[in-house]
Subunit: 251 residues, 2 copies
DNA sequence: TTAATTAATTTTGTATACAATATTTTTTAC
DNA sequence: GTAAAAAATATTGTATACAAAATTAATTAA
């Protein structure tokens, strides 16, 4: 094993082994690391190295990786290992189509079930989002802007749909890393705020329309032509055998 | 371990150890066994016993159980083991609500994407369904009637939504076992046939309406009051300590 | 030097061993 | 005989050991 530098972005004080972490905790850490883009798509997730980092055996790591794989955040290639997912353009469109469908349903149900305190929760979420944006804390912002959609799902009081939204929001995050074209997205806080207003006014059609526009806007910011442009150049000029895969620093 | 009779309904010639089966195969077998109701809700799924049955170590069984647990067909109680899920009435309503939302979206997309051969596929599915019903093969019918919805999802060409439908159909199957009141459902083949016609005619609203009615009909056949009626009697008369859990024959 | 082949190493897949926790049975007191 | 407590048993959770496969490095031929 590459004893030198199991250097990874897994929020911990340097390269130390932390004992006592278990399945759920390790899952949360890895989930956050991927979502906050400290682990880039395509990064190899070595069982040995992760076990060393978290101070557990491969048995535990394996369970976590399978869990992440089922949520499509990680992809497992048999006999080759686990990698942070690299969603294809087709997959990206699928995910956003699924989000439009499910989040439309959720917003309608949320309007029916809302109580005043729910609106307060949503407003706080947007406030946190705006603050992280102003402070230029990109990592936090990515997490918090997804959080809004999760909170909305919670208001609809359907755990199954909420779980689907959680999965789809995570995958969207990965998609954005890969396909976002140009500079950062123009503050979606305002769009979220408008959605809150429509929900509060119980204007179902307006709220759904705003949400659809919001998700469309997200999709429009992506460059989903070909494989990425970048990858195309590689495949055109690279020597046969494709080294592009192996360049990425393993976790 | 209860060396006597690891007798389970896992479609195999008696109580023999079958070597060489791996993750996917074991998953498929267990999935089918639960869906076809040869493994009843609440049944304990012992790692040792399953390992013996399939001729593999607990390591492999564990991975399969985690996979089934993530699909909500199996529930894992920490330190206590895995059990075939016993969905609550609330969960049942959640699942059916989610189905209405997602299958409405799928039917709209299927109408847009359909090609003639797709309709043939659907008709064959209904034909198989009808045949199993006429032959009184209840197990096959349960599987095949769910299959129609899976085929429909495939036509919509969205793997993500198709995966959700697969999960929801499985869970519905478990729900029906637990909560179906009275005798068997009146042939839903006709409802499926009508849906096919509406799709073929590209009548989106009609098709969605029929699907909603179909799912509503399913929900109406359930008795979701209290915990089951049956369980209530137990909790009223049983001695403290609750033996009801332990009666069920472990796999 | 480059390409292909072979050997060495690393990494995953599975079985097994042991520790921790639950469950069952036995014992003891009333 | 019943109920509570304690011991025995069985089951899950985790680490480790070994086998199978893939990757990497070294060797050889052009």
């Amino acid at each position: 094993m590459s004893r030198t530098a199991p250097t990874v972005a897994l929020r911990q004080s340097e390269t130390q082994t932390r004992k006592g972490l278990h399945n759920d905790q390790i899952y949360e850490e890895m989930f956050a690391a991927i979502l906050e883009q400290r682990l880039a798509p395509g990064t190899k997730l070595s069982e040995d190295t992760l076990g060393e980092i978290f101070g557990v055996s491969r048995t535990v790591i394996r369970a976590v990786l399978q869990r992440l794989a089922h949520e499509r955040i990680v992809q497992i290639h048999p006999n080759r290992g686990a990698f942070v997912s690299e969603p294809s353009p087709a997959e990206a469109q699928e995910v956003l189509q699924a989000r439009r469908l499910i989040e439309a349903g959720i917003i309608r149900e949320a309007i029916r079930r809302q109580v005043p305190s729910d609106m307060e929760t949503l407003r706080q979420s947007v406030a946190a989002e705006r603050e992280s944006l102003e402070q230029g804390d990109h990592e936090s912002w990515v997490r918090l802007s997804g959080d809004f959609h999760l909170k909305l799902a919670a208001i609809a009081k359907n755990h199954t749909l909420a779980a689907y939204v959680k999965e789809l929001v995570s995958r969207t995050s990965l998609i954005i890393v890969q396909y976002q074209k140009g500079n950062v997205s123009p503050c979606s806080c305002d769009e979220h705020t408008q959605i809150i207003k429509a929900i509060e006014a119980r204007d179902e059609e307006k709220a759904v329309e705003l949400m659809m526009a919001h998700l469309k806007a997200c999709e429009d910011q992506l460059n989903l032509r070909h494989e990425e442009g970048k990858a195309d150049l590689f495949s055109i000029f690279a020597k046969p055998g494709g080294r592009a895969e192996r360049k990425r620093r393993a976790v």
